[in-house]
């Protein structure tokens, strides 16, 4: 009957994460005009020093008008994955490498949503394959629950990776036009808030990817970006974007109802089963990252 617990909840504007790269807007949305963004509770105003906007995959080497900070304090700005990124203080880690982005065989779209749920909660949700049968039972969730033998996981300290083999009931049709395609998915999480999903469809050999990246705007607001990456030979990018938006919205409806929608870092404050290994490793990896940020702060450069 004891429902008391003292969770360690990660504030969405935790100052330690000023030492990480975060997106502050989509490349296509930032031009010569001042662009206002919120990051970890700070207001930033950015603008491009010209009219050339960074284009998509594999074109990072092409010229683009640089983005600079007009107002606010930042250690650095960079532009990649269709997003403009800011580190408020010297970051302790580089951004992860998302191979599909550099593959000329892919094209992409970036959808975005703003939510009251914390970035950590959204990331935990994206990495969690065990909720499909319930939260997404109206869309792609299969009828049988994902148990602890439903996926495999590796955690290497600085990232978490899990592989999940499932059958989709929506979003992607088989060659005969019906749903029910097998999907082998590999999810990789890097702190602070980047999770990359690579999908392989053995029925037809197709591949696709989607990346959730969260911008912790303030204590009470997060902007989520989903990079939808599909091969240029696949005509269904609009379908994939619509499907990703639909799935994200299903998740937001639930997590926005949390009384306190911050990520609980203390593993003992929530109940877990073996099927929650990915959630637990994600919390541990993020906690280690936060500790590393603190250590970096303590040692003057």
């Amino acid at each position: 009957m004891d429902d008391r617990f003292e969770p360690v909840l990660l504030d969405n504007d935790d100052a330690r994460l000023r030492r990480a790269w975060h997106p502050v807007g989509r490349s296509v949305d930032i031009g010569r005009s001042p662009f206002a963004a919120l990051l970890n509770g700070d207001e930033l105003v950015l603008a491009r020093d010209g009219d050339v906007v960074r284009q998509g995959h594999g074109r990072e080497g092409e010229p683009a008008s640089p983005v600079r900070i007009l107002r606010g304090v930042a250690w650095g700005v960079q532009e990649i994955y269709g997003l403009v990124w800011v580190a408020q203080e010297e970051p302790i880690a580089e951004l992860p490498h998302l191979p599909e982005w550099f593959d000329p065989g892919y094209h992409s779209a970036v959808l975005t949503r703003t939510t009251t749920a914390a970035a950590g909660v959204l990331t935990d949700n994206f990495l969690d394959v065990t909720h499909f049968s319930y939260l997404h039972k109206q869309s792609f969730g299969r009828s049988r629950a994902v148990t602890d033998d439903g996926y495999s996981i590796i955690a290497k300290g600085d990232f978490v990776q899990l592989q999940h083999d499932t059958v989709l009931q929506e979003g992607r049709r088989k060659d005969n036009g019906e749903f029910g395609q097998r999907r082998i998915a590999t999810y990789t999480y890097w702190p602070a808030y980047t999770t990359h999903l690579q999908m392989y469809f053995p029925d037809d050999g197709d591949e696709a990817a989607a990346t959730l990246i969260c911008q912790p705007e303030s204590a009470t607001s997060t902007r989520a970006y989903v990079l939808v990456l599909v091969p240029v030979t696949d005509p269904g990018i609009d379908d994939q974007v619509a499907f990703s938006r639909h799935v994200l919205d299903e998740d937001l409806v639930l997590v926005e109802r949390m009384t306190d929608p911050r990520l609980c870092l203390s593993v003992r404050s929530e109940l877990h089963t073996r099927a929650d290994r990915a959630s637990i490793e994600m919390r541990r990896t993020l906690t280690d990252f936060l500790d590393a940020c603190t250590l970096a702060q303590a040692v003057p450069a």
Binding site: M1, R4, P7, D11, D14, H131, S133, Y134, T259, R274
Partner: protein, 271 residues
Amino acid sequence: MTDTLRSTGPTASGDRATGPRGDAPRTTGTATVQPGLVTRPGWWPLASLADVSGAGRIPLSVSIDGSPWAVVLLDGEVAALRDLCPHRRVPLSAGSVADLPTGQVLECGYHGWSYDRAGHCAAIPAIGENRVPRGMGSVAALETAVADGIVWGRVAPDADAAVTSDAAADAPVPTGSAAPPSPGADALFLRPQKVSLPWVEVVTELSGLEVAARADGLLTEGSVELPVTASALSYFVRPIDAVSTSVFPVVPADAIETGLPEWLGRLAAVS
């Protein structure tokens, strides 16, 4: 307007209108206690039975002074379960009723953890069927009673003290009355109304300063019937949180035709 007060159709939806976060205080920093887990002792009116049954398989989220409970019918009986799944901290009121071979349960909408009327965890899909370790994942449950068309709930006198209060976990829980208070056979409840004011202000408006001054003492062991100033009307209150109150209006059974419009006027003045 009249229809909103008549205790008939299912239109109310618990206390959720307060907003997704409710108005529970949000502490900052990383070490904090989950807010809203202190439940005042004694019987509290939770909702009309019509609203609970009208909501069907979807629970109402009902807050007793900041302490949230999911209220729903399971196999025809009222269940009031802690509105917080211990797995991922989402409200159980975001879930729905599911049918298990052993009876109906409230199923969390996130991962399907399911709870019976007593709050015992009956299913955790991720560990397979019929494999919930004894005692794992249970949530607190209120003792409930239905009287005069109103669903009442209280922390059972033998419940774990932790359910009642974080601050006074060792304090004895008052035994109180075995049955919820009743306005009597010659009175009727109207549909409960949410008022966006602290309960002391509501009592001051409806019953005057003198009653309001005593009200804190009156409500230490549950809700009590309060008189409306210069009227035959009476009511019960349940503090929803620090800024809003649920009023359970009562009219004399032989004066519904005059009592109903009088209540409408009183509540309009309070709101």
